[in-house]
Symmetry: C7
């Protein structure tokens, strides 16, 4: 499995419309990439420059997250395209 | 519901003209987006790099805020377009 | 009323020529925006990253300030265009 | 042998498809460079500015790593092209 | 009078050639702006981010300073064009 | 002789192919500059901003180093072209 | 005389070829500016942001220094063109 480094977050884009208990999160058009992702793996968090202290991750495996429209790095695993984001680029948790 | 990460602020643009007790805040032209938003959700605030201390948010749910003309990330929820801003990009509170 | 966040300064551009006790501050040409503004509201000042300490504002409500030629964000209130600047972009106080 | 400085990571791109125990990591097209690399050597890690403390490396010799699509510096050794990355640019470990 | 904020320096460009006791400082061509300025007012100096400590100014009222060719903000006072620079952009004192 | 300042490293590009005990480091094409350099002189290392502590150099006189393809400043000494790099731009030691 | 501020270094470009005891430093072509300069004056060094501590200069009056090909600010004094550099841009001492 991929284990992200630093504050990396590995997500699978969720194409279906229904996302949160309180509402539907819709892609702007059918052709755009979904901005909702399911978190598959997270890094251990960024360390301070001297390696002595670590900033814990706010995003956990299993979370549904709101992603920015652009950015991230595509990775193809088992024929499926996943995406790597930095936690600092993830916009929100969907709850 | 969407729970913003970091210093994120989720807002709904307020299209009506009347905003503050002391005055009207008007869009420049009818075609421009409103620069006034109603805050629907806020993040927990930015943490210092070692994760030990948190800078509290100045913007709270329910606040009306003055937004910059550009920037922010549109999110479509239940057919309505909301916007995510960083608190550091929010210009003012409308009181 | 608008209450600026962070180190925001809300100003009304002063179109008349006479500004200081010691001299006239003139716009370069009649068509240019005035670089003199009257301060209507100020933010509480920038906080350190952990939110523990605040840098007080040097600019106060009622001050006349020298503004850079470019920058700032226009806001239309009651039909009048005001401008938001960051204090760090304000050049000088007119006294 | 090359001994990377700072947080350098020397990798050999792995062309075969099978990478992790749980899945195949595939290049997007046959013509693209593999994003998987085998770590041949690592630096000692970045030092704080006064040289007193060192941030240990998270990536070790023998690790398989996920690389960004762009970046890195090609080095030709014994007719083989290897690549140097900074650890901060390495995306994930493949386990 | 204008009282610069932060590390601002208000200068009047000195058009005559003779500047220092040890030599003439000449503009490159007659058409270029003089790079020598007389300091009319200075700010109180930059503060640290928490507002607790202030870095004193090295440039004082009455100093003649060497200015960079570009930069600065023109201000017209009593029909005369003065210039605002940041102290960090001022190159040297003329003594 | 030239004594580099800060974290400067003065190198002579090594044109021959054989570099390390374990392998040949080859230029990509005959026309490209060699990426291997012999270190002729090094600076004393960067100081912290208050000048009180110094970060020791990792690169020493006599080392063979792997250089980035671009960057560095050419200097002609006795008809020979040498190059100045910052240590932070040197990629690896050849051992 | 000009007294540089901050970490400024005032230099006179040295056109003759012979520079160091161990070798000639030559301009690349006769048309290029010399990269060797004689130091005429130096600033007091950069201060930390709170003004409390100063980083001493490594370059002194009378030193011959290696300059980058680009950068610096020309100043004409007594009909002679001198150049101002920041010490952090000076590459090496010629000894």
């Amino acid at each position: 499995m991929l284990r992200p480094l630093h504050d990396g977050v590995l997500v699978r884009r969720v194409e279906e419309e229904s996302v949160t208990s309180s509402g539907l999160v819709l892609p702007d058009t059918a052709k755009e990439k979904s901005q909702i992702g399911e978190v598959l793996a997270v890094g251990e968090g960024l360390f301070t420059k001297d390696g002595s202290r670590r900033c814990p991750m706010r995003v956990n495996v299993g979370d549904r997250v709101l992603l920015p429209k652009y950015g991230g790095v595509d990775v193809k695993i088992d024929g499926e395209t996943l995406v790597m984001f930095k936690e600092s680029d993830v916009l929100a948790l969907c709850q």
